[in-house]
């Protein structure tokens, strides 16, 4: 089974600062990590390999520093890693991102299963997975909490939905996005860490991929962020103090006056 896992490098915190002049996010000085949901995707890939044999390749699109995250994936035991990196990929929204990743996966070739995280903790859209599947013209299932069966032709999964789950069967090749309920990610192994140190991460640029220039980066992105603000929490709070009974009395009097209760 040939498995590809898509991982995104994200800032280690969601507590971002904004440059008030340029209206952009300040990323300097913030440590980067593998998107936490993608750790479950890597783990699931490794487990499938252990059970059914095959290989796990991890792919990511991003700036050169993403090699660090890919090396971390190697330390966890994946077979190969690939970085899609090129200036012209920058500024991509989810449509352009998923197109570029699909092109990378096409170049890898012969892939049976693609795993993504549920969503990235920075962009938070959860759109890249289904987008990749569409560009590759393969089926997808989101929010997978369990893989129940795999053969060389089909995969069966449980997908979380509000108030329950669905059991879904798909023909392979297919794409899944996974939730944290699916497994417990492992830690790096010594062997993996040693291997990752020697590893030279292959980088594919736009030229290496057979991409249409109008579909990548800023050019290929229909959405555009026009402003970024930090939400202000403004409420006219009425604080009651004093004895407990008084506070409670005052609260219910206010609720009655305001015709709330």
């Amino acid at each position: 089974m040939k498995i590809v896992v898509c991982i995104k490098q994200v800032p280690d915190t969601t507590d971002v600062k904004i440059n008030k002049e340029t209206n952009t996010l300040i990323r300097e000085g913030v440590k980067s990590i593998i998107n936490p949901f993608d750790m479950y995707a890597i783990e699931e890939g490794l487990r499938l390999r252990e059970k059914y044999g095959g290989t796990v390749t991890v792919i990511s699109m991003g700036p050169p520093q993403v090699t660090e995250s890919l090396k971390e994936a190697v330390s966890l035991g994946v077979d190969d890693v690939i970085l899609l990196s090129d200036r012209v990929f920058a500024g991509a929204d989810t449509l352009a991102t998923s197109y570029t990743l699909a092109k990378g996966i096409e170049k890898i070739g012969g892939v049976d299963l693609i795993l993504c995280g549920k969503q990235a903790i920075d962009g938070d859209t959860a759109q890249v997975g289904p987008g990749i599947a569409e560009h590759l013209d393969i089926p997808h299932v989101t929010y997978v909490k369990e893989i129940t069966d795999v053969t060389d032709k089909i995969i069966r999964v449980k997908r979380m939905i509000e108030g329950g789950y669905e059991e879904i069967e798909m023909d392979l090749p297919a794409l899944l996005t996974v939730v944290k309920e699916i497994n417990e990610p492992r830690l790096p192994s010594i062997r993996g860490i040693l291997r990752s140190r020697e590893m030279e991460v292959p980088i594919w640029t736009a030229q290496d991929l057979d991409v249409d220039e109008d579909k990548i980066g800023l050019n290929g992105s229909p959405t555009q962020v026009v402003s970024i603000t930090t939400p202000k929490f403004e409420a006219k709070t009425q604080i009651f103090t004093g004895k407990v009974e008084e506070q409670v009395q005052n609260l219910f009097n206010a609720l009655r006056e305001q015709r709330i209760l």
């Binding site: 759109q127 879904i168 604080i239 009651f240």
Partner: protein
């Protein structure tokens, strides 16, 4: 300040809502989208339409008109009874290509967040995720889509200038639902979709309903939530009792869930549920931004916390400073004394 589109989109008109349903039951978010979609359509001077896909939905389609919908595009086929990503993507794509809406809104539900990106990628347009605010730019007529990112720490406004339709998934429980009234004039347009031409590679074998403690947080009018300050699983009975006398549901912060005091289904916040009840009572919850993003749009927020500087007081309508172990029992006593009950709360709704 938003430039006009550089392309001619005069062919694209109307605001559409995806009529998400399961077993013929419309998701609550559909009514919220109709309420919001109506405002957008009025600003543009266009129609508000619902795309309804499924089986045996004729009466549902007619009923939707009563919420202020101008047109319902109905695709009614036996094979479409259960949601299937591939099938529904094909139907939505056909409808879009045929009727050319200018805006499409979907609920940011499990289904909406799976269907939306698949459809957007097929027709090669933009999709803004999980919006909490929508408006029309009065100059350009372009849809302004506001959404939280970075775990709610920032709000981004996004436009899709040069592609149509402009698509957005919208967070549940944020927009006010449309009210049912009679006297609207609208029409149901049946669109025949040739189901047999589909070559589906996805089969939904089973849909399993799990009764997880019967929590329908998103639909509750009153929610009483407990946080780390509650102290123990045992002590959560205080929260349950207060919820019960008010006829409300029980919510929780992640700290309470992580401590194993209450199941995850009750969690409110960024990685839990988004709620906007009439009254939200936060007990022993500090008010971390990841919690606030899930409950900030509640009509009235009552915070109980022993720390007068707790950030939850910045968003609260009313604050009670003190030990919840004393305050909650006093509240329960007072509610019983005043005869405030579920009935009292719900009579206020109508």
């Amino acid at each position: 300040r938003i430039e006009k589109s550089t392309r001619d989109f005069t062919d694209y008109k109307d605001v559409w809502v995806f009529g998400e349903q399961r077993n013929g039951q419309l998701n609550q978010v559909v009514y919220e989208l109709i309420g919001e979609g109506r405002k957008l359509a009025n600003k543009l001077g266009e129609n508000l339409c619902v795309a309804l896909i499924g089986n045996k939905l004729t009466s549902k389609a007619k009923d939707l008109i009563n919420y202020g919908v101008d047109k319902v595009y109905l695709v009614d086929e036996e094979g479409l009874a259960i949601y299937n990503d591939e099938a529904y993507t094909a139907v939505m794509t056909e409808l879009i290509n045929c009727y050319k809406p200018s805006i499409i809104l979907l609920g940011a539900t499990a289904i909406g967040r799976s269907l939306g990106p698949r459809v957007a990628a097929r027709i090669k347009t933009g999709l803004t995720a999980d919006c909490t605010g929508l408006d029309i730019d009065s100059e350009s007529g372009i849809l302004l889509q506001t959404r939280p990112a970075f775990g709610g720490n920032i709000m981004a406004t996004i436009v899709c200038k040069n592609h149509r339709p402009q698509m957005a998934t919208v967070r549940q429980g944020v927009m006010k639902p449309a009210k049912r009234k009679s006297g609207y004039n609208g029409q149901v347009i049946k669109h025949h979709f040739d189901y047999n031409k589909l070559n589906l590679r996805t089969r939904v074998l089973k849909v399993v309903e799990e009764i997880t403690d019967m929590v329908k947080l998103e639909e509750a009018d009153i929610i009483v939530s407990g946080g780390r300050g509650v102290g123990s699983a045992e002590n959560f009975k205080l929260i349950r009792e207060l919820a019960e006398v008010l006829g409300g549901a029980v919510g929780a912060s992640r700290a309470a869930v992580d401590n194993g005091w209450i199941p995850y289904a009750h969690q409110v916040g960024q990685t839990g549920k988004t709620v906007s009840p009439k009254i939200y009572i936060a007990c022993g919850i500090s008010g971390a931004v990841q919690h606030l993003v899930g409950m900030r749009s509640s009509d009235v927020i009552i915070a109980i916390n022993k720390d007068p500087n707790a950030p939850i007081f910045n968003v609260a309508t009313y604050g009670l400073v003190g030990d919840l172990n004393q305050i909650i029992p006093a509240m329960i006593k007072e509610i019983k004394l005043r005869g405030l009950s579920e009935a009292a709360a719900s009579s206020e709704n109508s």
